[in-house]
């Protein structure tokens, strides 16, 4: 069976600003030889500290940027080799949820417009259809149809993230790439959104590529994990094994940093 997402030896270089006018430009290797496979219905967690290449990976997988080397196959098709029109249609299959629920929603558009927009980009729907479907998606994420005519500022951070998830769901994707989707949220709201994401996965058979700096969050949502360090995959495997019994030194340090920050209420 063709895997849902197959990433082969993916690499991305960014050019740094020149230090001097005529000096040679410097490059930073943000991602280097990253490979993994994600089967439909499963979820893959990507952990690592900031600067490790997590968000670069997300942008390459969703074809928001082009890789310097390597291939991203979505349902067997090389995304970065697709003509623009086909790529746009293929985008119905994968959507993204960003970290910042304040910056990722256009403040001047109504919720109906925001949630319906990915359908509009697919160019095969009427306004009435879009509105109806946006309403369904709002209901699926626990908001009300009456919220369709409101603007983003009328919602709390957790509700905005629900709107962003509704927008991601509206094209009935198979894959959702979520880049730190709960990091900006308060503890109890974070729990609500994590629960929602798991409910939606069961209901729609979604796969998540779930990026987080918090191993506990990844452990909850993901079957498999890859650990990124300076743009390279240093360790990968099933979440149960990798997060309990890490082999790589960097993974151990990452887990120790996270464990140290967890209070132990059961202590006497």
């Amino acid at each position: 069976m063709t895997p849902l997402l197959q990433v082969e030896r993916l690499g991305k270089q960014y050019r740094l600003p020149r230090q001097r006018l005529l000096g040679a430009a410097h490059y930073v290797q943000a991602l280097d030889e990253v490979s993994f496979t994600l089967q439909a219905g499963r979820s893959l967690g990507v952990v690592g500290e900031s600067g490790s290449g997590k968000s670069t990976l997300a942008r390459l997988v969703t074809a928001l940027e082009t890789p310097t080397s390597g291939i991203v196959r979505f349902e067997g098709r090389d995304l970065h080799a697709l003509p623009a029109g086909e790529l746009r249609r293929a985008r119905a299959g994968f959507q993204m949820v960003f970290q910042d629920p304040f910056g990722s929603l256009d403040p001047r558009q109504t919720v109906a417009r925001i949630v319906g927009e990915p359908m509009e980009a697919q160019a095969r729907s009427s306004a009435v259809e879009r509105r109806e479907r946006a309403g369904e998606m709002l209901a699926a994420v626990g908001l009300r149809t009456a919220d369709l005519d409101k603007y983003p500022h009328e919602f709390s951070g957790g509700q905005r993230q629900r709107i962003a998830i509704a927008r991601a769901l509206v094209t009935q994707p198979l894959l959702i790439v979520a880049d730190e989707p709960v990091s900006a949220l308060d503890v109890s709201v974070q729990a609500q959104v994590l629960n929602l994401m798991q409910d939606l996965q069961e209901r729609f058979g979604l796969s998540y590529l779930f990026i987080s700096h918090d191993p506990a969050v990844v452990d909850l949502v993901c079957d498999d994990v890859i650990v990124l360090y300076q743009g390279r995959v240093v360790e990968s495997g099933p979440a149960d094994r990798l997060l309990r019994d890490p082999e790589h030194d960097y993974t151990r340090r990452l887990l120790a940093a996270a464990a140290g920050a967890v209070p132990h209420p059961t202590r006497s």
């Binding site: 974070q190 993901c222 887990l255 209070p263």
Partner: protein, 352 residues
């Protein structure tokens, strides 16, 4: 000039040794909201002595930041303050703006959440650190520059001498937060308010910056009010923890005690909602139903009543008074069902 020239030594008391550095009593703040005036802080009281480290925890909209801003005289326009904030033997409620200006950045300072926007983009770092030195200590610019370098070294900025002339946009988030800490510490304040100082930084950096703040606070004998929504941050960095909800402190006590007993249902809810390593895949986390109400919608009695699973009609009658937890006067919670809320995991030290 009625304002006394500020003390240079953070440790030197301006008043009798018996009076704490900061005493907040029944602090109330009302704000203009789109739905009319609303009570944002509803009787907050606490005390900070020199060397104390106190954490303020709760969700957004609970009044944590507002408490910090009130202490700094930085409340939004139209805010009305009642109650008392005695700092250094002096009442701060009702201070004129020029008096606040003399205090801020000198005797007290604040580190903000957003290192990306808190620095002025058009001045090099060295000049921003020197500003409070020029303003409050009346140093000349050479002395201020030398002191700015010393401060950058103190906050362990890599290649400090080079960073003096760097611009904010050339620094990473962690480095900017170090510059902000250097600015806050420049005049050796007696009180440091740190409002989510590491929320914008990633996990490994977070610990480093918090340890830096903790070390400096300890070295200088400052008092620290650390505001955070992160329970892990509190557990590691402060001696006392106050849990805020709906503009009141619903639970307060030594950090170890608060974390061990989780007396208030809200504190308990916050802890339960945290994902922990090792939970089976697909576990649904226990959540607190509903969300933090808007100020105008806060219930009359216990602010948590609408989201609490132990609510009874009595909860809505009047705001609950603080009750000692497990017979410990140092640990209090505002809940009339304290025994019931603690019952399932009541520990042996509860001798009541």
């Amino acid at each position: 000039m009625s304002a006394a020239e500020p003390q240079r030594e953070a440790g030197a008391p301006a008043t009798s040794a018996a009076e704490p550095l900061l005493q907040v009593r029944d602090l109330r703040v009302t704000l203009d909201t789109p739905r009319g005036r609303a009570d944002a802080l509803r009787g907050v009281s606490f005390t900070l002595r020199r060397g104390d480290t106190v954490g303020l925890i709760g969700e957004s909209g609970c009044g944590k930041s507002l408490t910090g801003l009130a202490l700094m005289g930085l409340l939004p326009e139209g805010a009305e303050v009642a109650g008392s904030m005695r700092f250094d033997g002096r009442e701060m409620v009702g201070l004129a703006e020029d008096e606040w200006c003399r205090l801020r950045g000198d005797r007290m300072s604040m580190v903000f959440q957003e290192p990306m926007t808190a620095l002025y983009p058009l001045n090099p770092d060295g000049r921003q650190i020197a500003e409070p030195l020029l303003l409050h200590l009346r140093m000349d610019s050479r002395a201020a520059r030398a002191e700015a370098l010393r401060l950058l070294e103190r906050v362990r900025m890599p290649q400090a001498a080079r960073r003096l002339d760097a611009w904010p946009h050339q620094l990473s988030g962690g480095q900017r937060q170090r510059v902000l800490i250097a600015i806050a510490l420049a005049c050796n304040p007696a009180l440091l308010v740190a409002d989510e100082p590491t929320t914008a930084l990633d996990a490994t950096l977070q610990r480093e910056v918090l340890q830096l703040i903790g070390g400096l606070v300890h070295e200088c004998g400052m008092a620290l009010l650390l505001i955070s929504h992160d329970l892990g941050v509190m557990a590691e960095n402060v001696d006392r923890t106050m849990v805020m909800y709906g503009g009141t402190v619903v639970e307060a006590g030594p950090t170890a005690g608060v974390f061990a007993r989780l007396a208030h249902p809200y504190t308990r809810g916050l802890f339960a909602a945290r994902p922990r390593l090792g939970l089976p895949r697909g576990t649904r986390l226990p959540t607190i139903p509903g969300r933090v109400p808007e100020l105008a919608d806060l219930p009359h009695g216990c602010p948590f009543a609408d989201r609490c699973d132990r609510v009874t009609p009595e909860c809505r009658a009047a705001p609950p008074a603080p009750v000692p937890v497990a017979g410990d006067d140092d640990h209090v919670a505002r809940c009339i069902h304290l025994d019931a809320s603690m019952a399932p995991t009541r520990r042996d030290e509860a001798d009541a």
